[in-house]
């Protein structure tokens, strides 16, 4: 016994040094009550509720903790599960009810799912979710975490005659976000500092769906119409005195008011026809979404300009935009042989964004106003890809694929301030990109539990949109997997290498390598262990052009942006039961970015100010770890008592952002899991 404990302790300590992972300590995954449920009339019922108290103690940056974790104190319905099943499939009003909840009461992440079904007549699915969203604030806030919004999501889907040849689908989804958020207002010209102001976020999105599905002669036809409405009514207000607080800027804000409503609608159609035969299958889709938006801005600000003059500015904008979006797909699958599958897919996508608006920016001091028109953006993409899968023998198979796509981007700039010399107020541009990509792989299965996959991919894109877009790239992937009932292990290596040199003076290269290993072992019903390890390596190099200088900004062209990330991520979980009454889970997770191994953010001896700035952000070493332990004791067949503890530790090494975000948090809970 002592040897066993020593072994376990040694293993935990050893694993803690190299593994990582993260899961939440509650709710408890254990079950109570009879797995087969209780019969009540013609129905069978299973249910369980886990209620308890969750607590947390946070030291360090509370805002960062709330952004990453956000569990607080209080009573919770940590989780619940209810199933009601008709035993003969002929319930009067329903044959099945499935209800699951998690986090209700005041957890930052809450969810409930419900399914109600009557065989042959209807099927209803509902999902409700709440996310208490606390996010890192803007840089201007100095690290303060000042976006505290709540997002509610709900989806309802009702299917009538789900087993019939003719089916009707009705749906409704809603997404709302509200709460305070920190934003900025840049007054009184485009070169002045931005002032922090609070915004009341108020967004609402509703979608209604009506669909029909008909099946005849082996064909399935689906038609769906959606009505989608969106509104965003943010408002900002400030009265007081806010100085710019930056070098060479005398700007100050004494009054600010802004209202910026935007309303939109996206009515859309989807048509889908597909069939499957012995030797072939076809799937065709067409969608059209007629996006439309109306917007307005009413903004006023008074204060002092960056030169110290009294400033009084009003901005009003109104307009509308259209975004017709059309997509079509035609997929053909062929099965000429039992061991051969060929799939070809052709797709077309056309997006156009246009509209009109009237912009007038009025300066009370100068009486100047400006007018802007809508910028047009059009994207048309045609793509075709083919995949072939051939199983030569039961133990070996090959697969290959080829993609071709062509994208045309059209843009009309309508700028009052042309940013490119020689351009006019309104200029049109068009550019085409072509992608050719090929894949090849082999899959081996020398023994039933053992699978080995090796594959590679090569792609070439002409005229990639951005310097960091995929241009000249290849990927290599190898995976070995061994699976038996008690033991599953897997190892994988993947690398992706992208080179992009759009101009002779600019380049971009990105090289990622991922090493993964995992093992899951369940030698006994009362004991199991899971462990994973990943090494995620990324290094990129990108040429830069920017303006910088000690006295005045000069064009800098000789610098590069280098970024190196070396993340070790491990996860260990051990479950074991004692005397069939007590279940114990201990786990540990760690994410550790060791960067490129340097001792300080800026290498010693760096005297060039620009080099020091760029060198200081080339790596972001940090450690994020979370051990946890959970105990679940069976009090009676229908009641369990649970307790758990989890630690969260976050530490940045270099304080790269200029402020300290590190924190340590202790979180725990105790609960009763019961069934009746």
């Amino acid at each position: 016994m002592r040897q066993g404990i020593c072994f376990l302790t040694t293993f935990l300590i050893a694993a803690a040094g190299s593994l990582q992972a993260q899961q939440v300590v509650a709710p408890t995954p254990d079950a109570v009550g009879s797995a087969r449920g209780e019969n009540a009339g013609d129905y069978n019922i299973t249910n369980s509720f886990e209620t308890g108290y969750r607590w947390s103690l946070v030291g360090g940056d509370l805002g960062m903790y709330r952004s990453d974790v956000n569990y607080g104190n209080g009573l919770r319905l940590l989780g619940s599960s209810l199933t009601v099943e008709s035993r003969d499939g002929h319930g009067r009003f329903f044959d099945e009810i499935v209800l699951n909840t998690t986090g209700l009461g005041n957890d930052p992440y809450q969810a409930a799912t419900l399914r109600v079904r009557k065989n042959g007549l209807y099927e209803y699915d509902m999902t409700w979710r709440l996310d208490d969203f606390y996010n890192p604030g803007l840089d201007v806030s100095g690290g303060a975490h000042l976006m505290d919004t709540t997002r509610h999501l709900q989806d309802h889907d009702l299917t009538l005659f789900p087993q019939g040849h003719f089916q009707i689908d009705l749906g409704y989804s809603r997404n709302t976000q509200s709460g305070p958020a920190l934003t900025t207002a840049q007054e009184f010209d485009t070169r002045s500092s931005a002032f922090p102001v609070f915004e009341n976020v108020n967004r609402q999105w509703n979608e209604y769906r009506l669909g029909l599905r008909a099946t005849f002669a082996g064909f399935t036809f689906i038609a769906r119409h959606t009505w989608d409405f969106y509104r965003d009514n943010p408002s900002d207000a400030f009265n007081g005195l806010e100085a710019a607080g930056t070098q060479n800027d005398l700007g100050a804000l004494t009054h600010f008011q802004s209202s910026q409503p935007a309303h939109g609608a996206n009515p859309g159609w989807l048509g889908n026809l597909f069939t499957r035969r012995k030797l072939w299958a076809v799937n065709a889709r067409m969608t059209y979404v007629a996006g439309h938006g109306d917007f307005a801005l009413d903004q006023s600000a008074t204060g002092t300009s960056r030169f110290g003059a009294t400033a009084n500015q009003q901005v009003s904008v109104s307009g509308n935009g259209q975004r017709p979006d059309l997509a079509g797909d035609f997929n053909v699958s062929l099965f000429p042989l039992d061991n051969l599958t060929i799939v070809n897919s052709t797709s077309v996508h056309n997006l156009r964004i246009s509209g009109d608006n009237y912009y007038s920016e009025y300066d009370n001091g100068t009486g100047l106003a400006a007018t802007f028109a809508f910028a047009f953006l059009g994207v048309r993409t045609i793509a075709n890809n083919t995949d072939i899968q051939y199983r030569w023998r039961n133990w070996i198979g090959f697969f290959a694929g080829y993609d071709y796509s062509e994208r045309r981007i059209t843009e009309t700039d309508a700028s009052a301030l042309p940013s490119i010399p020689g351009t006019a107020f309104s200029d049109s541009y068009a550019q085409e990109s072509h992608l050719n990509e090929g894949r090849l792989g082999v899959r081996l299965r020398p023994a039933k539990p053992l699978t080995i996959t090796l594959d590679g991919e090569v792609g070439r894109t002409s005229k990639p949109l951005d310097p960091i877009s995929d241009a000249n790239y290849h990927a290599l992937n190898g995976r070995v997997q061994y699976r038996t009932r008690r033991l599953q292990t897997a190892g994988e290596y993947r690398q992706v290498y992208n080179l992009n040199a759009p101009l002779s003076l600019t380049y971009y290269s990105s090289h990622s390598r991922t090493y993964s290993g995992s093992a899951s072992w369940s030698p006994r019903d009362w004991f199991s262990i899971d462990a994973t390890y990943n090494k995620l390596h990324l290094d990129t190099a990108s040429s830069l052009q920017f303006f910088a200088g000690i006295l005045s900004p000069q064009l800098q062209t000789g610098y590069s942006s280098l970024y190196v990330s070396n993340i070790h991520a491990g996860n260990l979980g051990i479950r074991f039961a004692l005397a069939r009454r007590v279940d114990v889970y201990v786990g540990y997770s760690i994410t550790k970015d060791v960067g490129d191994g340097r001792a300080s953010a800026v290498p010693a001896g760096t005297t060039n100010a620009v080099q020091a700035l760029l060198g200081g952000v080339q790596t972001f070493p940090l450690t994020y770890q979370s051990p946890l332990a959970r105990l679940s004791v069976r009090i009676s067949p229908k009641v369990r008592w649970n307790a758990g503890y989890q630690f969260y530790g976050y530490g940045e090494q270099f304080h790269l952002l200029g402020y300290d975000q590190n924190y340590n948090a202790h979180a725990g809970y105790t609960s009763l899991l019961w069934s009746f």
Partner: protein, 288 residues
């Protein structure tokens, strides 16, 4: 109704030996075929999936005597059997071209028909555990400090992905659809929740609309705040805004303004002023 002529014996015969499976089978969605009482033998109960059981009965058991013993079938055969009924579902219309199918991941790799761990969809494990089982590196991303709330139970992988395959992406170069479940029928799945980024905007930030959110964000998780690809924002911006690439005008992506001295801290925080970086109806530089 059993038919001795075609070898169908009916589920009542199966339950004689397989009582453990039969006992709770009324909770299985596949019980509907039995409950309706109208389906032909080949679409009723055990034999609707496993085929006629007469030979199995006469042999007094044995896997090899089951016409469709799934543990002995190739992934392609498993898929063909399940599609007999499930082919009519819209969410499985692309299953022939899904990455899972092409990687020989059969239905039974994720679904457990008789020993399901979930009341819905007959999954062999809870969804995230199922996906993490193979996508180990994605699990690592969801365990980073900044991540979408999958581990917390707020989201599922299927909120953004359709594991049964998807149509070609309408962003990027239409390659690598990554089984993304498109929003509003044909948009990047991020817009399902982040509806304020949809626009249309008078001034679109072109890479957002054309190449997608992944230009700047790691969608699963990141060690950087806001799922960004870089810890500080100015490197993220300058790596594109360096005059390279095609841009939308064939003249490269605009470089930073000559008025912006990068050594001045206020110009290192690009999104402080360019606050509407995803698109603006008001300002071509995304200031409002």
């Amino acid at each position: 109704m059993a038919s001795a002529q075609t070898g169908y014996v009916g589920s009542n015969v199966c339950k004689t030996c397989h009582a453990d499976v039969w006992f709770n089978f009324y909770k299985n969605p596949h019980y509907r075929g039995i409950a309706s009482g109208k389906e032909p033998p080949q679409r009723t109960g055990c034999e609707s999936c496993h085929g006629p059981g007469q030979a199995h009965v006469e042999a007094r058991g044995g896997k090899t005597t089951i016409p469709h013993a799934f543990s002995l079938m190739t992934p392609k055969q498993v898929l063909a059997d399940c599609l007999t009924c499930h082919a009519a579902n819209f969410d499985k219309a692309n299953i022939r071209r899904s990455e899972h199918t092409l990687a020989d991941i059969a239905c039974t790799s994720c679904h457990s028909i008789h020993h399901s761990a979930t009341a819905k969809y007959l999954l062999a494990k809870a969804q995230k555990e199922l996906c993490y089982g193979c996508h180990n590196n994605i699990r690592a991303q969801f365990e980073m400090p900044s991540h979408h709330r999958v581990n917390e139970g707020f989201m599922n992988c299927t909120d953004c992905h359709n594991p049964h395959g998807s149509f070609a992406a309408t962003w990027g170069m239409a390659d690598r659809p990554r089984m993304a479940a498109q929003a509003l029928n044909n948009e990047e799945p991020c817009l399902k929740c982040h509806v304020d980024k949809r626009g249309p905007f008078v001034f679109e930030h072109a890479p957002v609309r054309i190449d997608g959110c992944e230009t700047c964000h790691n969608p699963h998780g990141s060690t950087n705040g806001r799922l960004l690809r870089r810890p500080v924002v100015f490197t993220l911006c300058l790596e594109c805004h360096n005059g390279g690439g095609a841009g939308t005008r064939n003249q490269g992506v605009d470089i930073q303004s000559a008025t912006h001295n990068l050594l001045d801290p206020k110009y290192q925080r690009c999104t402080t002023c360019h606050a509407r970086i995803h698109g603006s109806n008001i300002d071509e530089y995304f200031l409002r």
